[in-house]
Amino acid sequence: MSEAPKVPAAPPADDESQGVSRRSFLHTAGCAAVAAALTGCGHLSTEEFLQRNFRELDKKELGEIIARLEKEYTAKFHKKVTVAATPPMPGVVFGYALDLSRCIGCRRCVYACVKENNQSRIPQIQWIRVLQMDKEEGVSLLHADPYYDPPLVPQEGHFYMPVQCHQCKNPPCVKVCPVKATWQEPDGITVVDYNWCIGCRYCMAACPYGARRFNWGEPHLPPEEINPVTEYLGNRPRPKGVVEKCTFCIQRTRKGRYPACVEICPTGSRKFGNLLDPGSEIRYVIENKRVFLFKEELNTQPKFFYFYGV
């Protein structure tokens, strides 16, 4: 509390006194000057430069940041873009199951995901990767082809295995991030603060499922293709130089809807629900089908289950 007068811009410090002292340090250390210099390049505002980690923000700060982002996105995409920070629902941990015996490898989920989650079109970023595998070899990465491109799927002798973030219960990506820019939410979804990530890509090295994508260049998203309903920790437009990943469509699922990939799948291979609800479909699948976890030996404890429905 005592530090507040030194920093007129800072809101009253109610809980995170640590964050405020860091912030005042920044001011006194003259980092604002650096910010001003960087702002000169026209890319970065002082507020953005000094913005703290999502989990250290109080309501008021978050509100200001969201207002700033909405303004920025709305100007950039010429239509009203909303950014929400929907909290997790109590008593919910999301789980996902994918039926390998049904998936035909049509990649509709891949494109529905790109559309829903505002991935960059150039350079192309996709969160779901579908692997074509040999039936004779089983699930073997030595015989996996992500670039299959036949006129018709499914191909004789092959099966298809879509891979996306497994929302590990024991996520190595979170463990290694040097700045706590990525973490697991109470509903089990691992998210990234795109305004805090420094782009070191340690999490990409740590993820066993190749689930994380990096914005190697400035992401391009045509204004007519943007999904304007966005979530702060989800599908809002990302800047260059940061990491992103599947969030189980946090902007939908926290409001009780299905992820886009579940909705689009023409074969019904994708099941989604609340793992804590004994009556949910996901629980039925886990309890009654032949289920396996990908790279189970790594003890990442995925909340993404593969199963054979037929």
């Binding site: 860091r22 920044l26 990465l141 991030c177 782009g199 914005n215 130089g241």
Partner: protein, 414 residues
């Protein structure tokens, strides 16, 4: 007060010292500055458009930058190779040159930090990873550990080296009670920076090639080959170009120590290869990609074998007393072992760790022109820092540069 004034004088005189030199000196500095300019130009493009100017992609998300970083951490750690015998065993001939090891460590660390900085996607958010100011994920993230270890080691070496030089400058004997604890601390610190850097890769279950218990020992063994190799060459250059007396005895002693570390390094490499190839589990693909090629991809194979071959020949040259004490073969050995470790602990470590990627894809990575340009800029920066520091340190060590001997005009001015 007195000390502060003297220290100011020391700094000013040092500055004066580095701006004058002979033509060779100016030429060398100009060359380094030009290289740095090239690096800056290359980096500006990357700063503007992002890391898309590199050839790293999601499949191989670390490359040349991080490879060089890893190699240079080894170089910085190897400085203790000289410090140990100098202070622990009070071995005179090495003691005089131990300070060079410290200066080398400082330069290597400057390059390390440079490589980290150019590798991150958001350099403007660098403060997020700074202790106290940012939000360090300590103790969970090994990268947070590394930030702390590297910076402390840099600070430590900087303090010790500056203090020793300053004492010599003011013609005083250094205070043992101050220097010795710091020097002894620097020994475990040197081991720790390299160990922590090894653990950074080591702790990833997703990357079986790095997930081997002997990774950290291998890091140390190889660092204690390459670091001294550079010093040996440097010592010879110094005693040719300056009056600095470095006894043959000192050089041969270092070379002998190197023979042991080189042998050990080869042994560890063989142990790793045996385990992977003989077990022949699915995880063999990474080392296969490195040494034999995988599914028609042979990019690393020639480099991998060149590294092994260079390491073997250098080991033999250093093992046999006759070739160890022959200047020509000694220097050939130095260059060979340096090259061997540069491949092994640079690209030979990073690329097979990430290839094939976690979903089995092979992406052939080769550094882009931008990456090579930026890297040469950082190397030039490191060499420049080292050159400037030597420019001061050598006269101090020779006793030419002392407060008593200041030029009359500056004395009058002071």
């Amino acid at each position: 007060m007195e000390t502060i004034r003297n220290f100011r004088r020391f700094c000013l005189d040092s500055l004066r010292l580095v701006v004058v030199g002979n033509r060779a000196y100016y030429g060398w500095v100009a060359f380094l500055l030009a290289l740095m300019g090239l690096g800056i130009v290359a980096y500006l493009g990357q700063f503007q458009d992002g890391l898309i100017h590199t050839n790293m992609r999601d499949q191989v998300s670390w490359g040349f930058y991080i490879g060089n970083f890893t190699f240079l951490v080894g170089l910085a750690a190897a400085a203790i190779m000289l410090v140990i015998p100098a202070y622990v065993y009070e071995w005179k001939p090495i003691k005089e040159i131990a300070i060079l090891g410290e200066l080398l460590a400082i330069s290597a660390l400057v390059m390390c930090l440079g490589f980290v900085l150019v590798d991150i996607g958001r350099p403007d958010r660098f403060w997020h990873i700074m202790p106290l100011v940012g939000l360090l994920n300590f103790p969970s993230s090994l990268l947070a550990w590394d930030v702390i270890a590297l910076n402390s080691y840099l600070l430590l070496n900087y303090v010790v080296a500056t203090y020793l030089l300053y004492c010599a400058y003011t013609d005083r004997h250094y205070v043992k009670g101050f220097v010795y604890p710091l020097v002894f601390l620097s020994i475990p610190m040197a081991v720790s920076i390299h160990t922590v850097t090894a653990y950074l890769y080591n702790g990833l279950g997703a990357r079986p090639y790095w997930n081997s218990a002997i990774l950290a020992p291998r890091f140390l063994a190889s660092a204690f080959c390459s670091g001294p190799a550079i010093l040996l060459i440097l010592l010879q250059i110094l005693r040719k170009t300056t009056r600095l007396e470095i006894k043959d005895e000192a050089i041969f002693k270092i070379a002998e120590l190197m023979a042991y570390t080189m042998g050990f390094n080869l042994f560890l490499t063989a142990a790793e290869a045996f385990k992977e190839f003989y077990t022949n589990s699915q995880d063999v693909v990474f080392i296969r990609y490195l040494y034999l090629g995988l599914r028609g991809h042979y990019t690393l194979v020639p480099f991998a074998w060149a590294s092994v071959l260079c390491g073997l020949v250098a080991f033999l040259l250093f093992l046999v007393p006759k070739t160890r004490k022959n200047w020509v073969t000694l220097n050939i050995g130095c260059v060979l072992i340096y090259a061997s470790v540069y491949i092994e602990k640079g690209m030979g470590l990073i690329i097979p760790g990430l290839t094939p990627d976690t979903l089995g894809e092979i992406y052939t990575y080769r550094p882009s022109l931008t990456e090579v340009g930026v890297a040469s800029g950082i190397f030039a920066l490191g060499f420049l820092v080292f050159t400037l520091m030597l420019k001061v340190a050598v006269p101090v060590m020779l006793g030419d540069f002392t407060m008593a001997g200041r030029p009359a005009r500056s004395a009058a001015a002071a």
